[in-house]
């Protein structure tokens, strides 16, 4: 055998080994996160229950029902629209594992774009998982990508023209929060949007909340974005939050910014549509080293510097914005929104307990509220 053939075979074995090892790591992120139904969960379903075309697809995410025996309204909470915004998913998990509803009901989807959790963004250096110490051991969750996995939806067009004829960058075709109200015959992401839209319509959700995070340099941050139908409720909730020293901005959903939850949920169903944002340095452009610690603590000296230069839309110091702060804001704002829905629409009252308030949460660790693995 010629010498260069021997070298080629050796290098092929090397390439196969690297492919195997990296492939195992990528495939490892396909494994579902463990979310434990808490004492308030009465049943679970799947998104395909509302849109059967999703049955058997990776994106067929789990729907958790927290129901009471007393009639009232329905609150829908959606986490994981963007899997690189972890406080959204973690807030939904906290509701699932802790909350008991005593009037009306709550429907929670913690991982809206399940496909996005199965990979993360190339060249971002993101961690694959985030870990929490609980009183009963370690729990972990995936840190995913902003967008649907290309192995589930490919190729991206050069320009994504949404369902309203608006032109967006090509990769936005895999952004769940650009594809509403969804299209049963559209691309994979638009079909997930359609499934979520059907859930809201078929379950007759009164209040629907889409949880997010944003880069500290993004103007819409520490904010509640409300469809105009929900503006009164949202403005009253913000007053309540400000009384508790939690600063929020109220943004009214722009009528021409199409495809987003706060616009299309309100336009294409009878729900009161809300989107909320907290500050997440790990998805920002100014961040330094990107690792699990940054995701969980938000501590980043580059953002401290940016704040000193007046470049941010949130206060930022050496304490960062830990996950307890970000989940605490979401949990407390959900409570404020529900309280004000109850006030404005008493016939749609929803009552629940088991959720910590902001100040309790920041005194503890997020893992303290996770249930034990069986």
């Amino acid at each position: 055998m010629k010498k260069n053939h021997k070298i080629a075979i050796g290098l092929l074995v090397f390439a196969a080994l690297i492919s195997f090892l990296s492939g195992m790591e990528f495939v490892g992120q396909w494994k579902d996160d463990i979310i434990i139904p808490g004492p308030g969960v009465t049943r679970t379903g799947l998104l395909s229950d509302y849109f059967p075309k999703l049955e058997g697809e990776y994106a067929d995410t789990t729907v958790y029902f927290l129901e009471s025996d007393n009639p009232g309204g329905t609150v829908f909470v959606l986490g994981g629209t963007h899997p690189n915004e972890p406080s959204a998913m973690l807030t939904a998990v906290m509701l699932i594992e802790n909350v008991v509803v005593t009037q009306g009901r709550m429907i929670v989807v913690p991982q809206a774009n399940l496909s996005g959790f199965s990979h993360n963004d190339p060249q971002e250096g993101s961690p694959r998982h985030i870990h929490f110490e609980t009183p009963d051991g370690e729990r972990k969750f995936r840190y995913g990508s902003r967008a649907t996995n290309p192995i589930h939806q490919w190729p991206d067009p050069d320009i994504y023209i949404n369902q309203f004829g608006q032109s967006l960058s090509g990769s936005e075709t895999r952004n769940l929060n650009r594809g509403y109200p969804g299209d049963p015959n559209g691309n994979y992401t638009e079909q997930i949007c359609f499934g979520i839209m059907e859930l809201i319509r078929q379950e007759e959700c009164d209040l629907s909340i889409d949880l997010h995070e944003a880069s500290p340099e993004y103007p819409v941050i520490n904010a509640i974005v409300a469809h105009e139908d929900a503006a009164d409720m949202a403005s009253m909730a913000i007053l309540d939050l400000q009384i508790e020293d939690l600063e929020y901005n109220l943004e009214i959903s722009p009528p021409s910014f199409r495809g987003l939850t706060h616009r299309e949920w309100g336009d294409y169903s009878n729900t009161l549509a809300i989107l909320m944002e907290t500050a997440n340095a790990s998805q920002g452009r100014l961040r330094g080293r990107t690792d699990e610690e940054l995701v969980l603590t938000g501590k980043d000296k580059m953002y401290v510097k940016a704040a000193e230069l007046g470049r941010l839309y949130v206060p930022y110091d050496e304490d960062g914005h830990p996950i307890e702060d970000r989940v605490g804001r979401h949990i407390t704002a959900i409570r404020a929104l529900v309280n004000n829905m109850n006030f404005i629409f008493p016939e749609k009252e929803v009552q629940y307990h088991g959720d910590p308030d902001y100040f309790e949460l920041i005194e503890n660790n997020y893992g303290d509220y996770l249930l034990a693995l069986k």
């Binding site: 260069n4 070298i7 080629a8 290098l11 092929l12 090397f14 390439a15 492919s19």
Partner: protein, 48 residues
């Protein structure tokens, strides 16, 4: 359908690069070829 065409194109280039690795006399070019085929393999198998 378009994904299958895409995979056929990947397979075609994968075979070409491997073929070139056996013809190539320069070890550095062979090493370059081995690095090039890694993403091709992962994409062909729809892992990444």
């Amino acid at each position: 359908m378009i994904a299958i065409i895409y995979q056929i194109i990947i397979l075609f280039f994968l075979v070409l690069v491997i073929w070139d690795m056996f013809k190539e006399e320069n070890i550095w070019n062979q090493l370059t070829g081995s690095l090039v085929i890694i993403p091709f393999i992962l994409r062909l198998l729809m892992i990444k």
